[in-house]
C-alpha cells in the first residue's frame, strides 16, 4: 500500500517536455519493462551519445543537469510546468521515471496518453494550477526541499510552510495506493464484454470479417 510519498523535489523549469526528451528513441529498442533508470532525460543528463545497454558509469555526465547532482539524484518528486509528457505514447517514459525513483510528477498540465500511462506504473501525475506551481518553484528553486504527498487526504505539505490540496479521482488514487492490476479487474466483466461483442457482431458483421 502506498498512500504517502515523501521526497526531494527536483524542479525543471520548462514547458512542453515531450516523451522524446524523457527517454529518447534509442532506448525504445529494449524489449524489457524495467532497467530504464540510466536513460531518463538522456539528452540532458549526458554530453555524449548513449546506446541501449550503456550504463551511467560509462557516460559523460552533464553536471549542470539537476538530476545529476546530490541530493536531487535521490529525488522522488519532479516539478515542472505545462504539458509534461506530450508527444509520443511510449510508456518507456514512465518506466524511466519509475526506474529512476520518481514517484510523483507535478505539472500544470500533462499529455493525455502519458497521464494514463503513469497510473499503470505507480507514478502519480499531479495537476496543480499555475499559481500553485509557481509557489512550489519559488520554494524549491534555490534549495532542495522535501515535501510529502498524502494521496488519501489529497494534500501536499512542505513543513508548515506550504499546504496545497490537489484533485485526484478516487479510482486513480486507488490505483496508486493499491497498485491494482487492471486486466484482472476488467476480466471480472468478461460476460458483459462477451455479450456486447455478440451484439456488435450481429449489427456490424463487417467489422468481424
Amino acid at each position: 500500500m502506498k498512500d504517502y510519498i515523501e521526497g526531494i523535489v527536483a524542479p525543471i523549469d520548462r514547458d512542453n517536455i515531450d516523451t522524446d526528451q524523457i527517454i529518447p528513441t534509442e532506448y525504445l529498442k529494449s524489449i524489457k519493462k524495467f532497467g530504464y533508470e540510466d536513460y531518463l532525460f538522456d539528452g540532458w543528463r549526458y554530453t555524449d551519445q548513449g546506446r541501449l545497454g550503456m550504463k551511467k558509469a560509462e557516460r559523460e555526465i552533464n553536471y549542470e543537469f539537476i538530476l545529476n547532482n546530490s541530493p536531487y539524484s535521490e529525488s522522488k518528486v519532479l516539478l515542472t510546468r505545462d504539458n509534461f509528457g506530450c508527444g509520443s505514447s511510449r510508456e518507456h517514459a514512465v518506466w524511466a521515471l519509475r526506474d529512476f525513483g520518481i514517484e510523483v510528477v507535478i505539472a500544470s498540465s500533462f499529455g493525455d496518453i502519458f497521464f494514463n500511462n503513469c497510473f499503470k506504473n505507480g507514478v502519480l501525475p499531479l495537476t496543480l494550477n499555475k499559481t500553485e506551481i509557481e509557489e512550489l518553484f519559488s520554494v524549491s528553486m534555490d534549495n532542495p526541499i522535501t515535501i510529502s504527498v498524502n494521496i488519501k487526504d489529497k494534500v501536499i505539505l512542505f513543513k508548515d510552510k506550504l499546504s496545497i490540496n490537489f484533485d485526484l479521482d478516487d479510482n486513480l488514487a486507488e490505483r496508486i495506493i493499491y497498485g491494482l492490476d487492471e486486466i484482472d479487474i476488467t476480466l471480472k466483466d468478461s460476460e458483459l464484454i462477451k455479450k456486447f461483442e455478440e451484439k456488435r457482431k450481429e449489427n456490424n458483421p463487417w467489422i468481424f470479417e
Binding site: 520548462r14 514547458d15 512542453n16 515531450d18 522524446d20 526528451q21 529518447p24 528513441t25 534509442e26 525504445l28 529498442k29 529494449s30 524489449i31 524489457k32 519493462k33 539528452g43 551519445q49 541501449l52 545497454g53 510546468r81 505545462d82 504539458n83 506530450c86 508527444g87 509520443s88 505514447s89 511510449r90 510508456e91 518507456h92 514512465v94 498540465s109 500533462f110 499529455g111 493525455d112 496518453i113 494514463n116 500511462n117 499503470k120 506504473n121 479521482d169 478516487d170 479510482n171 487492471e182 486486466i183 476488467t186 476480466l187 466483466d189 468478461s190 458483459l192 464484454i193 456486447f196 461483442e197 456488435r200 449489427n203 456490424n204 458483421p205 463487417w206 467489422i207 468481424f208 470479417e209
Partner: protein, 466 residues
C-alpha cells in the same frame, strides 16, 4: 438535441460506465508494431492469457526496419542487433499467438497508419487503438481512433476493451479555399501554431468546414494524424461520400456486406443541432506554407517570415524560445531562408502517401537536388504506395533529381533504423515532430509539407517565394 460524431462513436462502443467516471469501451481493431508491443506480449504470457479476439489484431514492423532493402532482405540482415531483436520478437509473438502480420518481406508491410486504411482494415465506425500516438490518423474515416501505452496494449489484447474517460468535444471549422502551393500539412501546422501543443488536450477534435469536405482522404489523414501534436489524442472527420468511396475501393468485403455497412456509415456524422464544448473557426484562404523553426510543433512560422524575436515576450515564454533557438542554432531575426540545409526527408505517417509523393515529384520534375544537400531520401509509407508510385513513374523523377528511393518504414521520422541526422545537421522533413534529438542526437528538424521539402531540396534552403 443532437450528437457529435464522437458522441455517436462513444455510445456505440460503450460497454459500461463505472461509478467513478471511467468507462469501458469495446475495441474493434488493434494495430501492433514492434516497439510498443513486446512488453505487452510478455505480460500476457506471464498471466497465461490469450488474445481475446485474434482477428481484431493486425501487426507490422515499421519503426526499426532498414529502408535500404530489397525483396530478398530478411530479418537476419538487420545490422543493428537490438533493432533486429525487436522485429524478431514481433515475428515470434505473432506466430505464437496466431496474429496476422505483414512481415518485413510482405508487399503490404509499411507504416501501420498508412497500411490500415489502404488495406481496408480501417473501416468507418470502428474503434481503433495502437500503441502509437499517431493512431489519430484513422479518425479521418469517422473512427474512434487513439494512441495507447503498452500496458493498455496488453489490456486490449487480453480483454478487447479499454478503460477510458470520455473526452470533451471540440470542432475546428476550416472554411474557404487554400492558396496555390498550400497543402493539408500547412493547414494542420497552422492549427497547431494557433491553438498550441496543448490546445486540444482533453478533447476529441472534429475537423469540419468546407475545406475539409473538399479535400481527399489522404489530406484528411494528414490533418487527423497531427491532431496529437495539437494535444488531441482523437481527431475526427464526419463520414461523407469521399469516405465511402475510398473504403469501397480499398476493402475486400463482399458487396452485400458493404451495402449494409454503408447504411450505417452514413449516419456517422455530427448532427446539425449538436453542441460542442469548444469551437474554433479558421479561414484557410489566408494561410501560407508553414514551417517549424523550433523544437516544438507549435513553433511555426510562414515560410517567408523571420525567426520570432524573444524580446517582446514574458520571461516564461522567452525561456523556452531561447532554449529552442539555441538548440536549433538560430539567432533573433534570422530569416528562415538564411538557413543552409543538410538533409531532406520525405516520408512518415503524416506525408508518405501517394498524394504526398505526387506533390513532391511535381516540383522535382526536371530539377536537381542542390549540391549543398548531402542526402535526400524519400520513403514511401507502404509497399502499396511504393508500387503505385513506381507504376506512375514517380520514383524515376525522384531518382533523376538526386533523391534516394527507399523501402517503406518510419525511417528518419524518428531514426530507430540507420536513417538518422548527425549532430547539428539541419533537415527539411515532412514528418510530425521536431523535438530535440527526434531525428538523431542533436539533429535539427524543420517540419514542412512535401512540396516545401522538395523545394528545399532543390535550393538547399527554404525559398522566399513560391
Amino acid at each position: 438535441m443532437g450528437y457529435t460524431i464522437y458522441d455517436k462513436l462513444w455510445n456505440e462502443h460503450l460497454i459500461r460506465s463505472y461509478d467513478d467516471g471511467d468507462s469501458l469501451i469495446y475495441i474493434d481493431r488493434h494495430f501492433l508494431h514492434e516497439v510498443t508491443s513486446p512488453q505487452a506480449f510478455e505480460g500476457l504470457k506471464k498471466k497465461s492469457l490469450k488474445p481475446w479476439r485474434i482477428n481484431a489484431n493486425i501487426a507490422t514492423p515499421d519503426h526499426n526496419v532498414p529502408t535500404i532493402r530489397d525483396n530478398k532482405f530478411s530479418i537476419e540482415n538487420i545490422e543493428d542487433n537490438i533493432s533486429k531483436l525487436q522485429v524478431v520478437e514481433l515475428d515470434k509473438n505473432c506466430n505464437d499467438f496466431g496474429i496476422k502480420q505483414f512481415n518485413i518481406n510482405s508487399n503490404n508491410q509499411g507504416i501501420v497508419h498508412v497500411i490500415g486504411p489502404e488495406l481496408g482494415l480501417t473501416l468507418p465506425g470502428m474503434s481503433i487503438v495502437c500503441g502509437d500516438s499517431h493512431t489519430s490518423t484513422h479518425g479521418a474515416f469517422g473512427c474512434l481512433a487513439m494512441g495507447i501505452g503498452t500496458s493498455e496494449v496488453e489490456h486490449v489484447l487480453a480483454t478487447q476493451s479499454l478503460k477510458v474517460k470520455k473526452l470533451k468535444n471540440m470542432r475546428i471549422n476550416f472554411e474557404g479555399s487554400i492558396q496555390k502551393g498550400v497543402s493539408s500539412k500547412d493547414i494542420v501546422l497552422y492549427l497547431i501554431r494557433t491553438i498550441g501543443t496543448a490546445g486540444g488536450t482533453g478533447y476529441a477534435v472534429e475537423f469540419a468546414g468546407s475545406y475539409i469536405r473538399n479535400i481527399s482522404m489522404e489530406a484528411r489523414m494528414t490533418i487527423c494524424n497531427m491532431s496529437i501534436e495539437a494535444g488531441a489524442k482523437v481527431g475526427l472527420v464526419s463520414v461523407d461520400d469521399k469516405t465511402i468511396d475510398y473504403v469501397k475501393k480499398h476493402s475486400n468485403l463482399e458487396a452485400n456486406l458493404i451495402n449494409d455497412a454503408i447504411i450505417k456509415w452514413e449516419t456517422l456524422k455530427t448532427d446539425k443541432e449538436a453542441i460542442f464544448d469548444k469551437e474554433i473557426d479558421i479561414d484557410v484562404s489566408k494561410i501560407n506554407p508553414q514551417v517549424t523553426w523550433g523544437t516544438s510543433p507549435e513553433m511555426v512560422i510562414d515560410f517567408n517570415e523571420k525567426i520570432p524575436s524573444s524580446a517582446i515576450l514574458s520571461a516564461e515564454k522567452r525561456k523556452s524560445l531561447d532554449l529552442a533557438k539555441n538548440y536549433m542554432g538560430l539567432s533573433d531575426n534570422q530569416e528562415l531562408s538564411d538557413l543552409d540545409f543538410d538533409k531532406v526527408f520525405i516520408g512518415s505517417c503524416t506525408n508518405s502517401r501517394i498524394e504526398d509523393l505526387r506533390e513532391a515529384a511535381e516540383v522535382l520534375k526536371g530539377q536537381k537536388v542542390s549540391e549543398k544537400i548531402q542526402e535526400a531520401i524519400v520513403v514511401p509509407g507502404s509497399g502499396m504506395v511504393k508500387e503505385q508510385a513506381e507504376k506512375e513513374g514517380i520514383h524515376k523523377i525522384f531518382i533523376e533529381a538526386g533523391f534516394q528511393w527507399r523501402a517503406p518504414g518510419c525511417s528518419m521520422c524518428l531514426g530507430m533504423n540507420p536513417d538518422q541526422l548527425n549532430p547539428y545537421e539541419r533537415c527539411a522533413s515532412t514528418s510530425n515532430r521536431n523535438f530535440e534529438g527526434r531525428q538523431g542526437n542533436l539533429g535539427r528538424t524543420h517540419l514542412m509539407s512535401p512540396k516545401m521539402a522538395a523545394l528545399t531540396a532543390i535550393n538547399g534552403r527554404i525559398v522566399k517565394e513560391i
